[in-house]
């Protein structure tokens, strides 16, 4: 099975469980701000670097997931990651989809 073409690195923040995404050596809260890895090697490097944030008790369980570009927008291939980036589909008033401002880095 071929490795996914492009990926995003994500984790959960330890203190509050919020979903975060990797960008340039730090974590952002909004999926739209996430770094997109076109190459497996850079994705793997980022994942390895992310372990430091685990040891420093900033995040838990960083992992990579596959995305694709649809109409110029980055979208996760698995519905699970789309829901994780937005919030519950049955409560559009809750979660990131309802948030007005995001921390660009934590």
């Amino acid at each position: 099975m071929a490795a996914p073409a492009i990926q995003v690195l994500t984790a959960n923040r330890l203190r509050d469980g919020d979903v975060v995404y990797w960008r340039n050596g730090a974590w952002v809260e909004a999926f739209k701000d996430a770094e997109v890895f076109a190459e497996k090697s850079s994705a793997d490097t980022a994942l390895a670097t992310a372990q430091k944030f685990v040891a420093d008790r900033i995040v838990v369980n960083p992992y990579l997931f596959a995305v694709r570009i649809e109409n110029g927008e980055v979208r996760a291939i698995e519905e699970r990651e789309n829901i994780r980036s937005e919030g519950p589909s049955v409560r559009r008033d809750l979660g990131k989809q309802a948030r007005e401002a995001f921390d660009v880095s934590i």
Binding site: A55, P88, S89, V90
Partner: protein
């Protein structure tokens, strides 16, 4: 209901401190996530899709108004203004921060509540018939023994690192409203030929990947022996349950592998020893002491007249949601948390507060959480029903659908849960909307739909008259139908129909299945009865009629 004494109060205070220390050690790095995870699970704290989820224990589903108000407070202060009532009579909050949990626990402790053992490989919340103490058909209130079991199983040193989770249910009536036979272990209150009350003990039931109906392992256990007997079952399980494969680690697998006879033999051996040692003998004085906590409220002498109201919506609610109480002039009222198009089992902080207010106003000391994700007012004066209905209506809590097709049980599913493969709530909402018409619902009658978003079966789909299992097929959500399950005393596991349906097609498929039932039923058969009589074939033919299913 049970009230903490100084020992319980001290215990829960120490437990809060214990967990606070565990959180500190996690945040300081002394504990890795791997080491912390079993500890936080012991306290019902999951890391879900969006945030931490905290599951709070509601022992045998019983809450006071004061406790309900605290849950509303927690929803407001620490969460996003709502909670979810579960299929194990607990409540879950979906947006909790780890750093807030010690504060939540401290608040809960002030109203005699906690989150201990609501997750992890330990003995979980002991559930009981939600009509306990009120049902007309009850032999005995199951909650005193449920409370005794709860205490015995709290931080049990031998059984805190079991092969897997362990769920216990108790019922006091021949009509099983607690789904006993789908539990790891269950206690049914029975009377023998001489009129003596004792316990029938089941073991080896379960949902999940491989569902099983439990077997009787103790036909009649005397009251004084029950803890010794339950300890014997736990010991056999702890020693011999599989540890090599988490999908084969429940007691149901052990019972199946050993066979019931061998299982009983091993239990008997342990039981004889524990009984002989005498330390777990349950003295009558202790039974009486706990019984006293569950003494019925001071019932009034009220006329046993059927209440009436000018409100035309009252009668359907009365007929559907109100059940017979053992005391004349009283009734049991089910508060549906399944408004059409709503999220099954959710309640807002406002609704919780208003319900507490309603309880105070009408002198109802307890409210119950049912494993069907509804709430129950167990002791209501019949004459108060119209006024209560009016208040419930204003709160959006008067949907007259208890036990009907729109009274759907659904797990949180992929909208919330890290384990899920598919969403379940939107499916429940779609189906409810399709069957919204009340006349149509009445025509259909009792039909229990249960939806799970993954094989872990938290929606109890195996026990649904119609069960729906969400699966992931190459990144697309599919839904498999099962028919003929039952969680009552006639327990059965639903039969899988065949290939799954897409999210768009599962609603129409369910409609066609119901259509088939309406065509085939004889007399006043429920859906379940018709299915058991005619089998899968006619339903399957109808469901796939328009070839609108995905190839397997």
């Amino acid at each position: 209901m049970y009230r903490y004494d100084e020992f319980d109060a001290q215990f829960v205070k120490e437990r809060v401190a214990q967990f606070r220390y565990q959180v500190e050690r996690r945040l300081s790095g002394e504990l890795t996530e791997d080491e912390f995870k079993p500890l936080r699970l012991m306290n019902g704290l999951y890391l879900q899709l969006h945030a931490y989820m905290l599951r709070i224990a509601v022992p045998y589903g019983t809450l006071s108004a004061r406790q309900l108000r605290m849950l509303a407070h927690i929803a407001r202060k620490y969460d996003k203004g709502y909670g979810h009532f579960t299929t194990r009579q607990n409540i879950q909050f979906n947006w909790i921060k780890l750093v807030d949990v010690p504060g939540v626990l401290a608040d809960l402790a002030t109203v005699e509540m906690h989150a201990l053992q609501t997750s992890g490989n330990c003995i979980r919340n002991v559930t009981a018939d939600h009509f306990a103490g009120a049902a007309a058909d009850e032999i005995e209130d199951p909650r005193p023994i449920a409370e005794i079991i709860r205490q015995w199983s709290t931080l049990h040193p031998e059984f805190t690192y079991l092969p897997r989770k362990f769920k216990i249910a108790v019922s006091g009536s021949a009509h099983d409203r607690a789904a006993l036979k789908f539990h790891d272990m269950a206690v049914e209150i029975v009377k023998n030929d001489t009129g003596e009350i004792g316990y029938r003990v089941y073991a080896g039931g379960g949902m999940g990947r491989t569902p099983y109906v439990g077997h009787v392992v103790g036909d009649f256990v005397a009251k004084e022996d029950i803890l010794a007997f339950l300890e014997a079952v736990m010991r056999v399980y702890n020693q011999s349950g599989r540890r090599d494969n988490i999908y084969k680690a429940r007691i149901k697998i052990l019972v199946s592998a050993l066979g019931v006879d061998e299982m009983k033999k091993q239990i008997e051996r342990e039981f004889a020893e524990i009984k002989q040692a005498g330390t777990l003998t349950l003295p009558q004085a202790e039974i009486d002491r706990i019984d006293a906590y569950f003494a019925p409220p001071a019932f009034e002498n009220v006329p046993d007249e059927e209440p009436a109201s000018l409100d035309p919506t009252f009668k359907p609610w009365l007929e559907q949601n109100v059940s017979k109480h053992r005391r004349p002039g009283y009734a049991i009222a089910t508060i549906s948390l399944k408004p059409i198009g709503g999220v099954p089992g959710d309640a807002s902080d406002h609704q919780m507060d208003a319900l507490a207010e309603l309880m105070d106003q009408f002198g109802i000391a307890e409210i119950r959480v049912s494993h069907e994700q509804n709430l129950v007012l167990p002791h209501v004066r019949k004459k108060d029903l119209p006024a209560i209905h009016k208040k419930l209506k204003a709160l959006g809590l008067a949907t007259p659908n208890a036990g009907l097709i729109t009274d759907i049980i659904a797990c949180p599913g992929l909208d919330y849960c890290d384990l899920a493969n598919a969403r379940s709530i939107p499916i429940a909402q779609d189906i409810a909307r399709r069957f919204e018409n009340l006349d149509r619902q009445h025509n259909i009658g009792e039909l229990k739909i249960k939806i799970s978003g993954c094989i872990n079966a938290c929606g109890h789909h195996h026990a649904g008259h119609i069960g729906i299992l969400g699966v992931d097929k190459k990144g697309v959500e599919y839904y498999q139908l099962q028919l003929g399950g039952s969680g009552a005393e006639d327990a059965s596991i639903g039969d899988i129909m065949g290939p799954g349906f897409t999210a768009q097609n599962i609603g129409p498929a369910v409609e066609r299945v119901v259509e088939a039932y309406l065509k085939l039923r004889e007399g006043d058969e429920r859906f379940l009865d018709t299915y058991r009589r005619v089998g899968m074939e006619p339903f399957k033919n109808m469901a796939y009629l328009e070839q609108m299913y995905a190839a397997h």
